[in-house]
Each structure stands twice: as C-alpha cells, then as structure tokens.
C-alpha cells in the first residue's frame, strides 16, 4: 500500500505550492497515473480520502487521468504495438517504456485571496 506514501508526497507538494501563494483552499487536483506505474487508482483514491480529511485538500476533487502503456525502440525510434514482444521489429533492439509509468501531479486549482 505505497499509495499512502504517494498521497503523503502529494499533500506535501500541494501544501508547499499553496503556502507559496497564500492559498487557503484547494478546489481540484489533476494527476496522471500510468498503467505501468505500480499505482492502483482505486487504492490511491481511498488513501486520498482518508489522508486529506483534515488538510488543505479536504473536499478537493481528485481527477486521475490514466496513461496507457507505450513501448518504443530507443535505437531507431520506432513505436512498438502494445502486447507484442519487447523487441524492436525493425532493428531487433530491446524496447523501452515510453509512456505508462507516470505518477505525476499535473495541476492544482487553488483559491488565492485577492490582493
């Protein structure tokens, strides 16, 4: 259940951004979570609900954008179809994950007092 650790990092980051801008309320967060990131979206959501209860994120919407797995060949740049062997069809080199391992905080929408 490293989803709790992930939510802790998320809170730390959001609190720092909020403090830097004097924000008092967070409305919405957007994350990108890759299908091969090792993070379970459902577990992440329940950790988020439990953990953010009394934080600046309390009540803030959590939007999770899933990112599909993509493999490519680092040697020749070819995209490999998903589910195929992890070898480049053109040059035979080993494939690399080019997308799908994201655990990324994209965007925070927060309420900043008017000056």
């Amino acid at each position: 259940m490293h989803e709790y650790s992930i939510v802790q990092s998320l809170l730390d980051r959001v609190e720092a951004e909020a403090a830097a801008r004097g924000a008092t309320v967070v409305h919405r967060l957007r994350l990108q979570i890759g299908e091969m990131s090792g993070v379970e979206t459902a577990l992440l959501r329940s950790a988020y609900e439990t953990f953010t209860d009394r934080s600046i994120c309390a009540g803030a919407d959590l939007e999770i954008v899933p990112v599909a797995v993509r493999w490519g060949c680092p040697a020749c740049g070819t995209d490999l179809p998903s589910g195929s062997a992890l070898r480049c069809g053109d040059c035979g080199g080993p494939a690399r994950l080019t997308a799908g391992d994201e655990i990324v905080l994209e965007r925070i929408e927060m309420e900043v007092p008017d000056v």
Partner: protein, 242 residues
C-alpha cells in the same frame, strides 16, 4: 464575486506543476548514488516475494566467497531484525531497516541507514528490500542494479501479474531450482517465457542456495556489472573533464 463590498474576493488560480510525485525520493536516491560512486561501492536492490530466497541467496553468496571479498547488507523488514541477524552470522556486516507498516524501502530510509553501517569498506552493498512484488519496484534507492529473486514454487504467472517489478529488473535469479524434481507441474521454460514478455532484456540465472548451483554465475554477473558501471563512470569523467 462579493458584489456588495468588493473586498478581498478569492480567485481560483490554476497552478501547473507537472512533476513526478516521486521527485523527492529520486533526488535522495541520486544523492545515495553519489555516495556509492564516491566509495566505489556497487549497491544492489534485491527484491522479491516474502520467502523467495533473498536472504538465503546472500548467505550462499557469502559462503562461496568465504571472506575473499567484503560485503555489506541492509535489510528491510516490517517488524524484526531476523534477516540482518542471519546475514551477520553468514559474515556480512548488516543492518536491519524496520519499516513498520511501510511495504517498501525508500531512498531516505536507506540514506539514514548508511550512517549506521560501515558500508564504505564493502565492495558490494546488498539492499534486501521488503518482501513484496509491487511497492518496492517504484522507489529508486540509488542502486546500480535491480535484482529480483523469484522462486520456482511461486507460480509461472508471477512475471505477467507483476510486470512493473519485472520490467525494471536487470536480473532475475530463479531460486530453489533444487526443488524442481519435486514439482512435476512446474516447467522452468514457462517461467522464462513469462519473463521474456516482461523484461526487454531478459537475463535469468537459475540458482539454488541448497546445492550452490548458479552461485558462481551470479558472482560473475556481479563482477561484470561492476566492471561496466566503472567503465561508464570513467568515460563520463572524460566527457565531463573535456
């Protein structure tokens, strides 16, 4: 919004962050990596299920080396220091990192432990991660290589069920092969085929801590990996210096 008095109405502002939530861990891991490089120590992140034979592999490694090479070990354990005690008995200076409820080691836990263990004298530092096929895979510790111990009794489908860990593995040590004669249903080729579907560069060593099979090959792999990383570091210095 406050049309009556117009005082200090809050505005909702979007802040684009676009940063990995692991960035903090990754920075600490890079810091650990610099420590290891500065001392010429190769750190290995040894992962696998509980009971897959991680500690036994390290015991067999120490027994084969018989003091010819200095080792050190950190072992992540939920509650006890039994693994560290076993490794110490095998002659490996060891320290246990008790993680409590956390199911994985992270770079900060390793960094703190580096202050407690005389790892600088070792040539190889083994970090036995918490037994778990999911969580440890996403936390970089600053290691040179990821090694997964997978026992022949775990089921052929484990690589396909836990692709995140296996796709990041530089090496899989297939452990307990001495048990194969007692496991008529297990075909080693099926396990290796599953590994080839999750590892872009599948590298597998069949080993047994009981018979000692594969231990020499494992030692050669470690030697080779260290030679490669030293060569890369040396060429990096040339580039940086020029």
């Amino acid at each position: 919004m406050c049309e009556t008095c117009g005082c200090g109405d809050p505005d909702v502002v979007p802040v684009e962050v676009r940063e990995s939530l692991l960035a903090g861990n990754d920075r600490t891991a890079d810091h650990n990596r610099q420590h290891f490089a500065a001392q010429g120590v190769m750190a290995i992140n040894l992962m696998g299920s509980p009971g897959s034979g991680k500690t036994a592999l390290l015991e067999a490694t120490a027994a084969r080396l018989d003091g010819r090479q200095r080792l050190a070990a950190l072992s992540g354990d939920l509650a006890t220091d039994r693994d560290a005690a076993r490794l110490a008995r095998a002659g490996i200076p060891s320290l246990s990192i008790t993680t409590g409820s956390a199911c994985h080691l992270d770079a900060r836990l390793v960094h703190e432990a580096l202050h407690e263990l005389p790892w600088q004298e070792a040539r190889w530092l083994f970090i036995e991660n918490v037994g778990n096929l999911v969580c440890p895979a996403i936390y970089d510790l600053g290691q040179e290589a990821n090694v997964v111990a997978l026992s022949v009794t775990e089921g052929e489908d484990k690589p396909l069920k836990y692709p995140v860990m296996f796709h990041k593995a530089d090496l899989v040590v297939l452990t307990k092969v001495d048990l194969l004669p007692h496991l008529p249903g297990v075909e080693i080729e099926v396990i290796e085929d599953a590994l080839a579907r999750t590892m872009p560069e599948p590298r597998v060593i069949r080993a047994s801590a009981v018979t000692g099979e594969g231990i020499d090959e494992w030692l050669r792999w470690l030697e080779g990996r260290q030679a490669d990383s030293t060569a890369v570091a040396a060429s990096g210095e040339v580039v940086a210096g020029g």
